[in-house]
């Protein structure tokens, strides 16, 4: 252990601790911009400069390790002046179009500039004239707002995608894709981890909020919303509620107050996906199909396979994602049942994800979901509508897509799809199998593995979240060092609860709280509290099969609920 003083406060910390981490123990906050826990730590922004005994000049607290007897001062005139100048230099290169910026009041540069009384016009920079990159349907890049902290680059590299990186040198250095190609042509998979890593408004989703308002105002259109499992676990954060608050009831009430709309529960098609996927898995096992089978609910993961590992396309389940299953279900079954012309039904999906904005534009999906909004966009609509979110009563989803099982609820966390599938598959293999909890596949570990023996069958499973971990699994399958029957992959670390469309929390929270775990806990609690745990117990799914599809993987189910993938190898 190392003893030191931070602003005269004695602290004892393990060897190798940085000044930044030690300061937190002393309840001293040191400002940062380029640092983001678990993502980026390079000491380049110079915001965290402090005075430390034994060091020459100011040192970057985020990378500087503590030493025995060190005395650190974080709030001297020298520190404050240095930070203020750094901010003013950053501001000279930052397009200060704050009022209309998505990150207004939620911008780390704005907050620090206010705290340090930085003058945004102290240094004059070059004109802001770089074009927006709007090539992708899921993200907009505004280079003029970028402050070169490179947190997005670190997030992208951590995903083993590497679509963006620093380009050039000196004053002209900027973040971009290779050869300045539009993001849509790059290896980007749309996971949006760059967006939630960005401290300013340089990266944001390409919003379609106005299209949804137009549809709501159009008397010809019937507008239906459905919300993905994880949105209820995060939406409250946009209204200053504690991380991990399940706001399902308020979320439904809020959407209902946006206009004359119906609000459905996407957990329903999560259950439906499980029925289709578990059946597909059993068929592959019994008929000697391509193994292992990979889940296909995550569009970022699917795009990653198509672009980087197309040789694994036959391993992807042919099931559409819950979002696309819902779209298909609404434009067929629901329209037929209610005598609605599908052209007049406007389907809005609320998702924690930016890749799903791309997924609904894929030609294979036939435009069945008209648009997908992130959790952040939904929060913005609720605020625009003047709805007092925290004061709302709890309301229920609309029928016929209201009731779902706990298996559907946990789809939003890493391991959730696997667990939901295991519940159904185990029961199908052994009618007496009653276990519904599979703790081996829970938790936020990057890769989880388990082997189950059910009715004489050995089922080897793996769960990975974060594309770098997915890549590790793919490479080891290729090398023959790992063998599985069923693999669940979610592109975002921790799964959808930590998706690229989730609320952007300030670094002060991100650097201290375990978002993945807190948000996932809300879903697992909802699963535990549900009297229906296994997707095959869903009354809605039962009706769907009885009235419409016949049986899982039936011809009709294949036509409506399954899809195909296309190799699109990119470097």
């Amino acid at each position: 252990m190392v003893n030191l003083k931070i602003n005269n406060i004695p602290v004892t910390v393990p060897e190798g601790t940085t000044i930044l981490e030690a300061a937190r123990i002393a309840h001293v906050e040191i400002p940062t911009l380029c640092y983001l826990k678990d993502v980026a730590c390079v000491g380049s922004c110079r915001m965290c400069l402090v005075e430390a005994t034994g060091a020459r000049g100011l040192v970057a607290a985020c990378v500087y390790p503590v030493t025995e007897g060190m005395e650190v001062q974080t709030n001297t005139p020298k520190c404050r002046k240095s930070r203020k100048t750094s901010l003013e230099l950053l501001l000279s290169k930052h397009k200060k179009k704050c009022l209309s910026c998505e990150r207004n009041h939620n911008c780390e540069l704005q907050r620090l500039s206010a705290e340090y009384n930085a003058d945004e016009d102290y240094f004059e920079g070059e004109p802001f004239d770089k074009p927006l990159d709007t090539s992708a349907p899921y993200v907009v890049r505004d280079q003029d707002k970028c402050i070169n902290c490179n947190r997005c680059v670190a997030a992208c590299q951590k995903q083993s995608v590497g679509a963006i990186g620093p380009i050039g040198r000196g004053y002209n250095v900027h973040v971009g894709s290779a050869f300045e190609m539009p993001l849509m042509e790059s290896v980007c998979v749309g996971c949006g981890q760059c967006i939630v890593a960005c401290p300013v408004g340089a990266l944001k989703e390409r919003t379609t909020v106005d299209d949804v308002w137009d549809a709501i105002a159009n008397p010809e259109k019937k507008v239906v919303f459905f919300t993905a499992p994880s949105v209820r676990a995060t939406l409250g954060e946009a209204f200053d509620m504690p991380v991990g608050t399940n706001v399902e009831g308020k979320m439904v009430a809020a959407i209902r107050r946006l206009g004359n709309v119906e609000v459905f529960n996407m957990d329903v098609t999560a259950d439906l996906t499980i029925m289709e996927e578990a059946t597909e898995l059993l068929a592959r096992i019994q008929n000697g199909g391509t193994m292992p089978m990979f889940t296909s609910c995550c569009p970022g993961w699917v795009k990653f396979v198509e672009q980087k590992y197309p040789e694994f396309i036959p391993n992807l389940s042919t099931c559409k994602s819950p979002q696309e299953m819902f779209g298909a279900l609404l434009k067929t079954y629901y329209c037929e049942k209610n005598g609605i012309d599908p052209a007049n039904l406007y389907v809005v999906s609320i998702i924690p994800c930016t890749a799903k904005k791309y997924e609904c534009t894929r030609p294979e999906m036939g435009g069945e979901v008209d648009t997908a909004l992130t959790t952040r966009e939904l929060a913005r609509m609720i605020k625009t509508a003047g709805i007092k979110f925290t004061e709302l009563p709890d309301e229920e989803f609309d029928n016929p897509f209201a009731t779902a099982t706990g298996g559907g609820a946990i789809f939003g966390a890493t391991g959730g799809v696997m667990e939901a599938a295991l519940r159904v598959a185990a029961k199908a293999l052994d009618g007496n199998f009653e276990i519904v909890d599979f703790p081996e596949v829970r938790g936020t570990s990057p890769i989880k593995e388990a082997t189950y023996n059910v009715a004489g069958n050995t089922v080897r499973v793996a769960v990975a979240s974060g594309l770098a971990n997915a890549e590790e699994i793919l490479e080891s399958i290729k090398a023959g060092t790992r063998n599985y029957d069923f693999v669940e992959i979610m592109a975002c670390p921790g799964g959808c609860v930590n998706g690229g469309g989730q609320p952007t929390l300030p670094d002060s929270i991100r650097n201290t709280a375990n978002l993945k775990e807190l948000r996932a806990n809300a879903l697992y609690k909802s699963d535990k509290d549900n009297t229906l745990r296994s997707s095959d117990k869903s009354p809605v799914v039962e009706v769907l099969y009885n009235e419409y599809f016949g049986a899982p993987n039936s011809h009709k189910a294949h036509e409506i609920l399954h899809t195909h993938y296309t190799a699109d190898k990119r470097i």
Binding site: G162, G165, G168, A178, F179, S186, I571
Partner: protein
Amino acid sequence: MNNEANCTACETLGTPEQEAQLKAVIEQSKATPGCLMHILQEAQGIYGYLPMQVQKTIAEGLGMPLSEVYGVVTFYSQFSLTPKGKNRISVCLGTACYVKGSDKILEECEKQLGIKCGECTEDGLFSIDSCRCVGACGLAPVMMIGEEVYGKLTPGNVKAILDSYREESK
């Protein structure tokens, strides 16, 4: 840099010999940590510049994102994204040359050849770049064409020098 022109010029890996050379360099070096710089230098030696297809081949060979390779290429001024001419003009803009008016020499080269600094003439005969000090400050202002150094230049004698290369290539 004109991206479009650059991209159309880089759809292939050049001649079969060039491609074989590049792949051999990657194969020889890829196990060495930090080999990217060396491979890029060799590749530029083979092709004269580093077009997209060459960078993609290197990225794939090293299992590294193209954006990272491109980041290194654009960081170092020794690497070029555009083809170079048979005769590579390099005008010194170092302190001594600059105060002696080397910016006017650069301007004159650009005017004479109808291209900008960093570009290559359509016939491939000349390309212009600027550099910082060739170690011949006593001769300022200085430019190099290939390995040849020309000193005490005035805008007036640039044309004659360029013409001598034009003659030579006839």
